[in-house]
Symmetry: C2
Subunit: 163 residues, 2 copies
């Protein structure tokens, strides 16, 4: 059985996305393998007013989901950093969640420490360790860029490991 | 010239709305008057998962705007209280802003101290003083309930005074 998982790293200026396929084979021993399908970012320009940036996110995420047809979405929970920034990211994340709701797409959410734990067995791993785990698990020769896309692949992998 | 202003008090469980008309008459002295048009709340149930609550907000705000046909929307800026709550409200506010963006509706934003200042001439006025000003300005016999609807009328009035 194959499952497509779309990982999302929420943001206002940049939303990272990373899609993987999870292949589960049921033999004597249940086995599974993951493969990279696509990754990249959705960007919105700070020249636009907020409501237009959110409308762009809405349209672009819908297009992305039309293209990738995921079975499951994995979306990162917000990490508290600076308050003003957190509010902007939360507003953008609300639009992403809306799209999942409108399309009745199943989704799972993970906080950063859960993602780190799933990929490195250490909840406080640093960015580089997580990215190396992403490369290893997906058998990649180069690190996906920008970081937001790599982060999105990490969220997708966390969902795959949980299934 | 008449202008319809829709005030919004963002939230996840409850979004307050309050619509007023602003009548500007141009005689020897420019004069204006405000009238209450409608007020109420949009509610989403905590029994629904987040993405469905946001989809409900999206649909209900679109219906409300279809009904009221505002010329301008005035939306309250987020006030920082508890972090977890602020994130939930910000996600909901993102959906409200998205609707404004999709409909290309002009909007203005005011922080709570700006609203208090506009209605009472005192940026740190308490809730009761602001509500009394709303009643006085709109010539109401009773306080609009719940508080979220009264707050939304206060935002709409702030926009009217600024015009």
């Amino acid at each position: 059985m194959e499952k497509r998982i779309l990982g999302l790293d929420p943001g206002l200026a940049i939303v990272g996305f990373g899609a993987i396929t999870l292949q589960q084979t049921q033999g004597k021993v249940q086995d599974f393998s993951v493969k990279m399908l696509d990754f990249g970012v959705i960007r919105t320009s700070s020249d636009m007013e907020m409501s237009q940036r959110l409308a762009t996110l809405f349209d672009d995420l819908n297009t992305l989901i039309d293209d990738l047809q995921p079975d499951l979405v994995a979306i990162e929970k917000l990490f508290f950093y600076r308050m003003a920034n957190t509010i902007l990211v939360a507003q953008a994340r609300g639009v992403l969640m809306l799209v999942l709701g409108q399309r009745k797409l199943p989704y799972v959410e993970f906080a950063p420490p859960q993602i780190k734990q799933a990929l490195t067995n250490y909840g406080k791993a640093d960015k580089e360790e997580v990215q190396e785990a992403v490369m290893r698990e997906l058998d990649l020769e180069e690190m996906p860029k920008p970081d937001d896309a790599a982060d999105a692949l990490a969220v997708a992998l966390t969902a795959a490991f949980q299934l």
